[in-house]
Symmetry: C2
Subunit: 560 residues, 2 copies
C-alpha cells in the first residue's frame, strides 16, 4: 500500500452510501437488524492484498462505521443488531495481515484508530441508544474479528469442534491485538488476567465450553441450532432494550450525502470549511454556527427537529466536522497544526444549545447530541496540534466553545471595538463528555474547582478579559500584538518534532481519570504504536513482515 500522500492514487473518502457497500449487507426485520459481513476479497481500498476470510482494511471498516451511524439515525426502530458472517465457518479473520505488512507506520496507526473509534461507537449505540450489538460468531473468530465481537454487548460462538475465538497477534505476528482487545478482555469482560495471558498467547484460541467458562463468549450453541438460538436471544434482548425509550415517532432520518466542494486538499461544506496549506503544514478549520432560524426550528421541539432531519444545523455541521477531521487525518498526514475558528453569534449559539437540550427527550435530538459528542471525541483523539483562534468575527460559545476547549491552546483577541464573546451553555456541562468521562470544562479547570463552580450555570456572555479570568483562554492578545504573536506561535509549533508533539498532546489532553475507552487510546494504542515500529515486528526479519512466508522471524531477545 502506498502512503496516502499527494502522490498516492486517490484520497480516501469516508462518505459511503448503502447501495454501494461491497462488504456488508443489512436486513431489517422490525426491532432486529441482521448485519452480514461478506468481505469481497478483490475489494481492498488499495492494491496489493486480497481480503480473504472476512479480513478487513480501512475500506471495510468505513462501511461498518456507516452502518452503525445510519442504524441510529435511519433505523431508530432497531433495538438489537446481530452481527454475523456470510462466509461458512469463518466469522472474521481480523485486519488483513498483508495490508498491515505493506502499510506505512502512520497508515497502520490511523487505521487502528479509526477501527477503534468504530468499535467505541458500536458500544455507545448499545449503552446510550438502546441498540444492542450481538456478535453471532458462526465460525472462526480471530484477532480483529474477536475484537469486533468484544465490542458487542453479547458474544455467541458456534460449537462445531472447530470454531474458536482467538487473539493470535502476539504468538503469530509479534504485535498486539490493538483494537481494544486486551483492554476489553480484562476491563470489559473481566476475564481473569492470568487466563487472558494464556488466551492471548495461544494462537489456536479457545472454543466450546471453555470459551464460555473463561467468559470469552456468553454462550456456545451447536451448529445445527446456532441461528435459532441467536434469534431467540435477540428477541429476548429486544424486550430489555425497549424499556424507557425516549419519546418521538421512530421514523428514520436519512443521512444525506454531505457532498462538499473539493478543490485540491480543501473541502468546503455548508457549515464547515477546511483549507490546507501544505507548505506551511497548517490547516484552517472554520465552523459557522447556527442562525436564528436554526434556533427557531429547535424551539418548536423534537418533532420539528426530526423534520429538519439531516439538514438540522447540529447534525449537519458536526457530520461535516467529522468528515473534515477524517480527511485531515488520512489524506493530509503532514499537516501538523490546525487553526480552528468558530464564526457566528455567541448568544445565538447559546440559544441554540438551550433549545436543543430542552428537546432532548426526543430520540432524534438525543441522537444528535450523542453524535456531537462522538465527533468532539474524534477531535480529542486526533494527533494534530489544534490552536483555537478567537479573532474578529469568531464566537466560541456553547457547543462551539468545546472546540476551543478541545484545542491545545486558545488565542483570544481583546479588542473592545469588536468584542469577541465567549459563553457557556448546557452543552459544556455534561452532554458532550470526553473519552475519560470528564467534560472539557472539568478537564480544563481540573485544578480550579472554585472557578469551575463559579462558571457552571452562568449563562452570561463573557468579555474577553472575563473569559481569561475564568481560565478559558490561553493567551489574550490585543489588536496590536495579535498578528505577530499568533504568527510566531504557529511557526514555532510547526517546527517541532511531530512525534514528540503527538506524545505530549496525548498526555496533556486527558488529565484525571481513565475509562476503558480512554485506556484503549492511551495504554493499549501507545504500546501498539511502539511495537509496530520495533524490528521484531516490522523489521526485515520481523514476525509481521514474514507472516505467511516460509522464513521464521528472527528476534532481538532483549526485553525492554
Amino acid at each position: 500500500m502506498q502512503q496516502p500522500a499527494a502522490s498516492s492514487p486517490a484520497p480516501v473518502d469516508f462518505e459511503v452510501e448503502p447501495e454501494h457497500y461491497r462488504h456488508w449487507s443489512v436486513a431489517y426485520d422490525g426491532a432486529i437488524a441482521r448485519v452480514t459481513m461478506a468481505v469481497d476479497p478483490e475489494g481492498g481500498l488499495r492494491e496489493g492484498y486480497e481480503l480473504k476470510l472476512n479480513s478487513y482494511d480501512l475500506g471495510v471498516d468505513i462501511e461498518l462505521a456507516d452502518i452503525v451511524r445510519r442504524m441510529r439515525f435511519e433505523h431508530p426502530e432497531v433495538r438489537v443488531v446481530v452481527l454475523r458472517s456470510g462466509i461458512d465457518r469463518v466469522f472474521c479473520a481480523g485486519a488483513n495481515i498483508n495490508m498491515l505488512g505493506q502499510s506505512t507506520h502512520a497508515w497502520k496507526v490511523n487505521f487502528c484508530k479509526f477501527t477503534n473509534e468504530t468499535r467505541c461507537e458500536l458500544e455507545e449505540a448499545t449503552g446510550a441508544s438502546q441498540q444492542a450489538y450481538v456478535a453471532a460468531c458462526n465460525g472462526t473468530t480471530a484477532g480483529g474479528g474477536y475484537e469486533l465481537a468484544l465490542a458487542c454487548e453479547e458474544i455467541y460462538l458456534q460449537d462445531d469442534g472447530n470454531s474458536a475465538v482467538s487473539l493470535p497477534e502476539v504468538p503469530l505476528l509479534g504485535v498486539l491485538p490493538g483494537t481494544g482487545g486486551l483492554t476489553r478482555l480484562v476491563d470489559k469482560r473481566k476475564v481473569r488476567r492470568d487466563r487472558a495471558d494464556v488466551f492471548s498467547t495461544t494462537a489456536e484460541g479457545i472454543r466450546g465450553k471453555k470459551a464460555k467458562q473463561w467468559r470469552l463468549v456468553d454462550d456456545v450453541f451447536p451448529r445445527s441450532k446456532f441461528d435459532e438460538k441467536v434469534a431467540v436471544r435477540a428477541t429476548a434482548l429486544v424486550q430489555r432494550y425497549s424499556k424507557d425509550l425516549p419519546a418521538g415517532e421512530r421514523k428514520g432520518v436519512e443521512l444525506t450525502a454531505l457532498a462538499p466542494e473539493v478543490e485540491g486538499n480543501d473541502r468546503r461544506y455548508r457549515h464547515v470549511a477546511l483549507e490546507v496549506d501544505q507548505t506551511a503544514r497548517t490547516a484552517s478549520l472554520t465552523i459557522t454556527g447556527p442562525t436564528a432560524d436554526d434556533v427557531a426550528i429547535l424551539r418548536r421541539g423534537g418533532e420539528a427537529a426530526q423534520q429538519a432531519g439531516a439538514e438540522l444545523w447540529a447534525l449537519r455541521a458536526y457530520r461535516e466536522l467529522d468528515d473534515a477531521l477524517l480527511h485531515l487525518r488520512v489524506n493530509n498526514p503532514t499537516v501538523g497544526l490546525v487553526l480552528v475558528r468558530a464564526k457566528g453569534d455567541a448568544q445565538t449559539v447559546l440559544d441554540h444549545d438551550a433549545a436543543l437540550v430542552a428537546a432532548r427527550d426526543h430520540w432524534f435530538v438525543r441522537e444528535v447530541l450523542l453524535h456531537m459528542g462522538r465527533v468532539l471525541r474524534r477531535m480529542d483523539n486526533t494527533s494534530r496540534s489544534f490552536f483555537a483562534l478567537g479573532d474578529r468575527g469568531t464566537a466560541f460559545a456553547g457547543n462551539l466553545l468545546e472546540l476551543a476547549l478541545a484545542a491545545d491552546r486558545f488565542y483570544l483577541l481583546d479588542d473592545s471595538s469588536a468584542p469577541v464573546h465567549v459563553g457557556l451553555g448546557e452543552l459544556n456541562e455534561g452532554a458532550l463528555p470526553m473519552a475519560h468521562g470528564l467534560t472539557r470544562l472539568q478537564t480544563r479547570l481540573y485544578g480550579e474547582q472554585d472557578t469551575l463552580d463559579g462558571l457552571v450555570g452562568n449563562r452570561a456572555l463573557l468579555e474577553p478579559s472575563a473569559a481569561d479570568d475564568a481560565g478559558l483562554v490561553t493567551v489574550l492578545l490585543d489588536d496590536i500584538d495579535w498578528d505577530d504573536d499568533v504568527r510566531i506561535a504557529i511557526e514555532e509549533r510547526v517546527s517541532l518534532s511531530p512525534d514528540a508533539l503527538t506524545g505530549m498532546e496525548q498526555n496533556l489532553r486527558f488529565a484525571g481519570p481513565e475509562t476503558p475507552e480512554s485506556k484503549i487510546y492511551a495504554r493499549l494504542s501507545a504500546w501498539q504504536n511502539w511495537i509496530f515500529i520495533r524490528p521484531n515486528a516490522t523489521g526485515p526479519e520481523g514476525a509481521l513482515t514474514l507472516y505467511g512466508r516460509p522464513e521464521r522471524p528472527s528476534f532481538d531477545w532483549q526485553r525492554v
Copy 2:
C-alpha cells in the same frame, strides 16, 4: 554507552553505601534533612559522557534512591527533606543528554523506569511516611531536574531574573519529559492543560511570578532570602508532618549491606536466590519464607521487630527481592521468563503476616510494610514474563501469594501425597496495593466479586483444588503432567516476541482504574518508549542524536 550485556565492562550494582556517594551529600538537623546534589562530572556510570550542570545518569539516581530509602529506615526522626543543589545557579539539568544519545533503547527505557520508581518512592515517603520532600530550586531547573522537583510536595524557585523551571524535551530534543513530568503537571499540580502545552514547548521555561501563577512552583523567593525562606517553610512543614505519627522510638535502623554470593549472573542472598540460564533465557527466582522464629520476634511487637532491624525477615527478604529484580532488569536483558518459587510453610507465612499487621502501629513495622509494597510494585512493572510455580516444597500464602498474583500465570501441583498450600492473609487485602490502587487479589478477581467476597477474611489454608476453584490458580496439574506441561509452557513463552510480550503484559496486568502513578508507567512511558525509537528522535538526523552539534535535526513531518 555500551549495552550492559555479558560483554560490557561490569554489571550495575544497585547497592550503595552513604560513605561512597559521589554525587550527593546529606546533612541531618533534627527533623529536617538537607540533601545536596553536586554531581561529579567525571563520575558517570559508563564512559563517554560528562555529568555537567548536575545532569544525571543511572548511577546518580541509584544514590538518590538509596538516600530516600535510608531516610525512612535510618532517619525516622526526619519530617522534611529539602532537596537543593550544591552548584551555584543550577539546580539540576535533568538526565544527561549525551548519555541518552549513546544508550541502547533498552537502557534508556530501564533508566527511565528506575528514575520514575525513585520519584514515586519519594512521593510515597511524603504521603505515607510523613517525610515531606521540598524542592529548593536554587538555580536553573530543567527537564528531569524539574521532574524531580515535581515529585516533591512543594517547589520553591529562586527569583533572580534567570532561574527558570522548564521542560525543554519536546522543543530541544524531540522526546518527552518521560520521568512523570507531563502527568504530574496536569494530574498532580493540576496546571491547566493549555498552559502545560505552552510550558512544555517553551525551551527557556518560565520563571518568577508567572511560574507561581501557573502553579509550576509554589512560590518564588529572591536570591538573597532564598535559603532563609526555604528554611522557614521547612520548619512550618515539620509541624504539619509531625501530627499523628506512628508509635515507637524513632531510633533509626541501619540498612546493612545484603552482600549476596555472586557467581556469574547468579545471586544467592540469605532468603532469595536468582539463578540465570542465559541459554534458555529464563531465570529461577526463589524466595524462602519466614520461620517460626521470625514469627516469634514479630509477636513480641514493634520494638522487638525494630531490634531485629535489617535482619527482620520481612525487610531483608524484600530488600533481597528488590535487588534481584533490578539485577535481572539491567544486567540480564535477554532473560524473558522468570520462574518464581516460594519455599516454606504456608501456615507460618500467614502467622508471620498476622503478627506483622498486629504490630503495624509501630513506625518501623509500617515502613517494612510500605517497603514490601514498593518491591511488589517493582515486580508488577518489570517487563519480563513471570510464571509462579507451585510445585513440591513451595507454599504461596500471605505475602508470598502476592508473588503468584503478581505473576502472569500460576501453575500449581495437585498432588495429594505432597499438598501444596495456598492461603490468604491480611497482607493480601490492602496493605500492598498495586500502582493503580487495587490489591492484586482485587485485580485477579476483577470480574468475580462474589468469589472475592468469599475469600476476603478467609484464613484457612486452601488445598490446590480449592485454590483453583477460588480463581487463584491458572493451571492446576497433577504429578504426571507437571514436568511436561510446565516445560512446554516455558518453551512456548520464551519463543515469543519480547516486545509483544512487554506490551501485552503491560495491558493485562492492570485491569480497572488508573492513578497518576499508573498513568506514568502506562500512558506516559509507553509514548516515551515509542518516541525514543522514532527516527525523528534517535535516527541519524534526529533531534536527540544531534543535540549539542551544529547540525539541525531533519524531521519526517508525517503526524502519526
